[in-house]
């Protein structure tokens, strides 16, 4: 027991003039043990089987082979759901990111002095973030009925929680000097926030929102599985019917779309100068 407490306490170093200082013990070995333990547990629980992986991995390429050549005639029927998917993610991201602004401000402890308000807002954000998008989409279909509206709502909720979380953390790390200067000139917190904090976090806000939008396009693609509209609906259907040429076509078009959106988003995000922070 004595040894154990010594281990946690760290090492005493004595200087030549008799002064004593405690050197903090490295946490690396402990963390390593924990990570290894969890890895082992995960293997046991999930029934991870290397043999199965070795035997069956070829099946993937057989499936992939069946998708080629993709059925080009089917493309005409993909456009509708594909555009619905993009619309869902676009609208959901926009509304969610805008809604996130006031909540991010309230959740930032350097702006809001009320601990209760900060805590409650953070709780709301973390609860919403904990629910997988697929689950919110499923719930949304019960409330708003099948279709892309349910998908939009679920993407909106996810974006709200994601952007809200990142933004309140960013707001907390801004340089508060200008804020103090604004207050010293006789401005209230709101004016001080707009003029001193917004310029510092705006590029990060836009960048985060765009990044979230990229991810949302991919999320939106599977929301159809629970009936929340978009391309997932036909993807699910064609896999069910084992019409792999059609599946190939859907995936190809989805891939190109995602690629284009990500390229645009990356180019846009580069223009937000993140230097000078």
């Amino acid at each position: 027991m004595q040894k154990m407490s010594n281990l946690l306490k760290g090492k005493q170093l004595v200087l030549s003039n008799g002064k004593c200082i405690t050197k903090k013990r490295s946490m690396v070995p402990l963390i390593l043990v924990i990570v290894l333990a969890f890895t082992y547990l995960s293997v046991v629980i999930t029934g991870f089987d290397l043999g199965l992986l070795m035997r069956r991995w070829k099946e993937f390429f057989i499936l992939l082979g069946q998708m080629f050549p993709p059925d080009l005639n089917y493309a005409a029927k993909v456009w509708g759901p594909l555009i619905a998917t993009i619309q869902m993610s676009f609208l959901g991201t926009l509304v969610g990111a805008v809604l996130a602004i006031p909540f991010a401000i309230i959740a930032a402890s350097n702006i809001m002095k009320s601990r209760i308000l900060v805590g409650l807002t953070r709780l709301l954000i973390s609860i919403l973030r904990a629910i997988p998008t697929l689950v919110t989409a499923l719930i949304a279909t019960y409330i708003f009925g099948l279709g892309s509206f349910a998908g939009t709502v679920s993407i909106c909720i996810f974006t709200f929680a994601y952007v809200g979380k990142i933004m309140y953390e960013q707001i907390e790390t801004v340089f508060m000097g200008p804020f103090e200067a604004m207050e010293s000139m006789g401005n209230g917190k709101l004016y001080a926030f707009i003029k001193a904090v917004v310029p510092q976090v705006l590029p990060i806000y836009l960048s985060t929102t765009l990044f979230c939008f990229e991810g949302n396009v991919r999320y939106a693609a599977i929301l159809g599985y629970v009936g929340a509209g978009g391309i997932g609906l036909i993807l699910n259907e064609k896999i069910g019917w084992r019409e792999y040429e059609c599946v190939g076509m859907i995936l190809l078009m989805l891939y190109i779309t995602v690629f284009i959106i990500e390229s645009i988003s990356r180019a846009l995000r580069k223009t937000f100068d993140l230097r000078g922070r």
Binding site: P178, E183, S184, M185, G186, N187, L190, I194
Partner: protein
């Protein structure tokens, strides 16, 4: 006029920053507050515009007892007091003129603040303030691309646009090189003389304080230990202010050196 009467300040952690402060500063004076780090200089200066509220005692600024001020009346009161900071406290990522224009924001309607719309008159005023500081050509440059001295001048221009009666400066030259520091001190002197603005600065550079200001207030461990003309300051006074704090005597010259700033000689 600024009047402190038996002012005390105790922080919530129990630290007593100011003890029985009595001080009277007339309009148009140029005062330097000197003392060791942690002596209470910043607390003293920030209590004048109530960025820090004092615990007890009366503090009257321009005929107004400021202990009762809060909310809107406090914000209105603060508009007549400019503040300059050691780290300039400019908004990064934005231009010099945008920073100067923030001085106008307190009188603007919400939608104009949000959208950042300033009238031509306001913009001209801001440019004139920058011109007075000799950095008109930097108006549309981002402040993070300017040198320390230029940034402090942007901050001064911002304060001037506020048209204050009092300027409080918390270590305004501590993060500047000696040459730039002299220029900024000249700026303060000029503003003080030309506009009859009261200037109160916290400063570590004693030689500079003695050269530019009219009056020195020395504080030690939260108490005023010296208050007099700059010409009255001698080694004995400095020993009293900076005096035998820890092991060995630290004289004023070494204090500067220890703090990693420019070595000053008296």
């Amino acid at each position: 006029m600024i009047l402190f009467e038996h002012v005390n300040k105790t922080y919530s952690n129990g630290f007593k920053a100011l003890t029985d402060i009595n001080l009277k500063i007339e309009q148009g004076e140029f005062v330097a507050i000197i003392g060791l780090s942690g002596a209470g200089k910043s607390t003293l200066i920030r209590s004048i515009n109530k960025m820090i509220s004092v615990t007890d005692g009366t503090l009257v600024v321009n005929g107004e007892n400021i202990s009762n001020l809060k909310g809107k009346s406090l914000r209105r009161f603060r508009r007549q007091i400019g503040m300059i900071f050691q780290s300039f406290n400019l908004v990064p990522r934005t231009t010099a003129i945008q920073n100067v224009l923030t001085a106008k924001v307190s009188d603007m309607p919400f939608w104009r603040v949000l959208l950042g719309i300033f009238t031509k008159k306001e913009q001209i005023e801001a440019l004139e303030a920058l011109d007075r500081e000799g950095i008109l050509d930097k108006a549309y440059m981002r402040v993070d691309q300017l040198s320390g001295g230029q940034q402090q001048r942007v901050a001064l221009a911002r304060t001037l646009l506020q048209k204050p009666q009092i300027i409080l400066a918390d270590e305004p030259v501590a993060s500047l090189d000696p040459i730039t520091a002299v220029q900024v001190m000249e700026d303060f002197k000029r503003i003080n003389r030309e506009d009859n603005i009261t200037v109160i600065i916290n400063i570590h550079h004693i030689d500079m304080a003695l050269k530019y200001v009219d009056r020195i207030v020395g504080i030690k461990a939260g108490r005023i230990v010296f208050d007099g003309k700059a010409s009255e300051v001698n080694q004995a006074v400095l020993d009293c202010i900076y005096g035998e704090e820890k092991e060995g005597t630290i004289d004023a010259k070494n204090v500067e050196f220890v703090k990693g700033e420019t070595v000053s000689t008296i």
